[in-house]
């Protein structure tokens, strides 16, 4: 049997050969399929990439040319990028965005971990109810509770005009993060934890020194999600910080480039690309963790 297979593979079994090579029409069909699949793939990639190319080409045009329907820049004005970075406010928005995204991510992960651990590994009476409430609050549109929240932060805490009303709640767990971490934690066999318990290890120590190292990829994924969420947030800064340009983030301030420079599409596009760039850079460095996270939300959930 094994001999026949090797003989076939080597092509020294003449009687079998015609069956191995597909007849002509079938091979042609395969070639046509190959062409079809690759044409579709190239078309799709063009649809995804060309917008970036057009934005970039416009971002290096002169003010005058950016107002025409030209596609290719006649003079390459790299200075547009320095002009954008020197625009008053742009540096502050960068700092604010980094603070919002950095602190927000840190707070979210630290506060959500113990909750996710308890929901995954402790047995207690209202666990099912708690989990359902977590999932419900995950699905809640942020606009539903915005009126009382604004009244609370502005009237009671006097924090409107800052980003703190967005950052502070993140120190009290985020439903999506809790849910995702819990899904990951379920995959850890409880025997590991029981072994540590027998050795007299407290739950907090188990969480920090055994569980956290094991679920590092999951932590990376939820941290990335939260970072992107803060980076992209438009509604939050619009509600709490719109009155104070000193507290704007990049996502919120970006719009005002249209104001500062009338319809200078070239500067606008340069600023747009500068806001996109960090997110895309982060993605290239952390692609694996990110894709794993996205997959987990939809497939294994």
């Amino acid at each position: 049997m094994a001999q026949t297979v090797t003989a076939e593979a080597a092509g020294i079994a003449p009687p079998l050969a015609p069956a191995r090579t597909p007849p002509r029409p079938r091979r042609r069909k395969r070639v046509l399929t190959w062409i079809g699949v690759h044409t579709l793939a190239v078309t799709a990639v063009l649809f995804f990439i060309l917008p970036f190319v057009f934005l970039f080409l416009t971002s290096v045009m002169s003010n005058k040319q950016a107002l025409t329907s030209d596609l290719w820049p006649t003079s390459w004005e790299w200075g547009n990028y320095t002009k954008v970075m020197k625009t008053p406010g742009f540096g502050t928005w960068w700092r604010n965005t980094l603070m919002y995204a950095g602190l927000g991510t840190l707070f979210t992960v630290v506060s959500s971990l113990p909750v996710a651990y308890a929901l995954a590994k402790f047995r207690f009476r209202f666990r099912g109810v708690a989990l359902m409430l977590v999932i419900s609050s995950m699905m809640l549109p942020p606009q539903v509770i915005i009126i009382p929240m604004y009244i609370f932060w502005a009237k009671q805490m006097h924090l409107s005009g800052t980003l703190w009303p967005l950052i502070i709640p993140m120190a009290f767990g985020d439903a999506f993060t809790i849910f995702l971490l819990r899904q990951f934690l379920l995959t850890i066999p409880s025997e590991y934890l029981d072994a540590a318990r027998v050795d007299g290890c407290g739950e907090l120590r188990i969480l920090i020194s055994i569980v956290v190292p094991m679920i590092r990829p999951a932590i990376a994924a939820v941290a990335l999600f939260q970072f992107f969420y803060c980076w992209n947030d438009y509604f939050g800064p619009q509600v709490y910080a719109s009155e104070n340009p000193g507290a704007w983030t990049l996502s919120y301030g970006l719009e005002s480039f249209k104001g500062a420079h009338q319809v200078n599409w070239n500067l606008m596009m340069a600023a747009t690309l500068l806001v996109m760039a960090p997110v895309i850079l982060v993605f290239f460095f952390a692609q694996k963790a990110f894709i794993e996270g996205v997959t987990l939300t939809g497939v294994k959930g």
């Binding site: 793939a41 113990p114 419900s136 609050s137 606009q143 919120y252 996109m276």
Partner: protein, 321 residues
């Protein structure tokens, strides 16, 4: 452990103490969320119900007005119905097209042997573009006068729609933007398509079935749960649709961003209006807080209805393993 008898006698008290300690420990681990849930979810939700029965301009104390806000929003407030109609359009067209497009791309991605990884990375990239940046980018690309898209369409003699500036084309333009950011669906569809057992395809091949039947009887049954998940989360996201519609309206209408110039969401002619934008408009532009809370609660009821649908159909979400 050598003296079994006294230990057995002590068990109830020790057990009780142990149980109490365990409960306290659970409570401690859950405490961040318990506080967060009560202060940033339960309390504001209750307060929204309360404010929906009051007149409150954020300066003077709230005044109880009974059902007046509810009557006003449900009977004398045409933007509500327009926003609901727009949302329905987006659910039917945008969510459906996104699922079909994502599925098609996923099937394409798994057929590419060389360059499959590159294809997936490049297709995923637009999903990462911050929504504000992506929307401003599209407002430029689709701008009717000088935008590259209409320039190219003109070159090949195709009609040049007004996109974000035309009431008939504003929602299709937003749909195009949503299809560009298909990355999330591409990833989950690709993963689930790769999970379809290969043997079933081979068996189908042996039976000599065509590509459509192979999809219908092998692929589709295996991926239905993921498609359902994509549809339901798509609907929930559409309920919250805000940033893209707001920014596209602002940029296309030529309102100078954030300069204090008032902008009524929904440009052009209310065709991009959604419920969250109405909440913002009533709550923070016209300071009709009571009406904003009524709209918030309608949004809440719709979103929760779909969440329960998700939980019921995917009870696996609540399982342990």
């Amino acid at each position: 452990m050598t003296t079994t008898a006294p230990a057995a006698a002590k068990v109830p008290a020790a057990l009780r103490r142990q149980r109490r300690r365990r409960n306290l420990r659970t409570l401690a681990f859950l405490s961040p969320w318990l506080i967060g849930f009560s202060v940033f979810f339960a309390y504001p939700l209750g307060a929204t119900v309360y404010y929906s029965f009051t007149r409150y301009d954020l300066i003077n104390p709230p005044v109880w007005v009974g059902m007046r806000n509810w009557n006003y929003v449900l009977n004398d407030y045409p933007p509500l119905w327009q926003a609901l109609r727009n949302t329905l359009w987006l659910v039917v067209v945008m969510v459906t097209l996104r699922v079909i497009f994502g599925l098609g791309l996923g099937m394409l991605a798994i057929r590419l042997k060389r360059g499959g990884g590159l294809f997936r990375t490049l297709s995923y990239l637009p999903y990462l573009a911050p929504p504000v940046a992506a929307t401003i980018g599209f407002a430029f690309l689709l701008n009717p006068g000088t935008g590259p898209v209409n320039h190219l369409l003109g070159n090949v003699g195709m009609p040049q729609p007004g996109w974000f500036n035309d009431p008939d084309w504003s929602k299709p333009a937003l749909t195009l933007l949503a299809l560009w950011g298909i990355g999330d669906l591409l990833v989950i569809f690709t993963a689930s398509l790769l999970d379809v057992p290969r043997e079933q395809y081979e068996a189908a091949e042996l039976d000599g079935v065509g590509p459509w039947q192979r999809f219908r009887y092998v692929t589709w049954p295996a991926i239905t749960p993921v498609v359902l998940f994509a549809v339901v989360t798509g609907v929930i996201q559409t309920m919250q649709y805000y940033t893209q519609a707001m920014v596209a309206g602002k940029v296309a209408s030529g309102i100078i961003g954030n300069s204090g110039q008032s902008f009524e969401p929904g440009y052009p002619q209310g065709t991009t209006l959604t419920l969250p934008q109405l909440v913002y408009e009533e709550g923070f532009s016209t300071f009709n807080t009571g009406a904003a809370c009524v709209i918030s609660l309608l949004l809440f009821v719709i979103a929760m209805a779909f969440t329960f649908l998700l939980l019921r159909r995917r009870s696996g979400l609540l399982d342990d393993d």
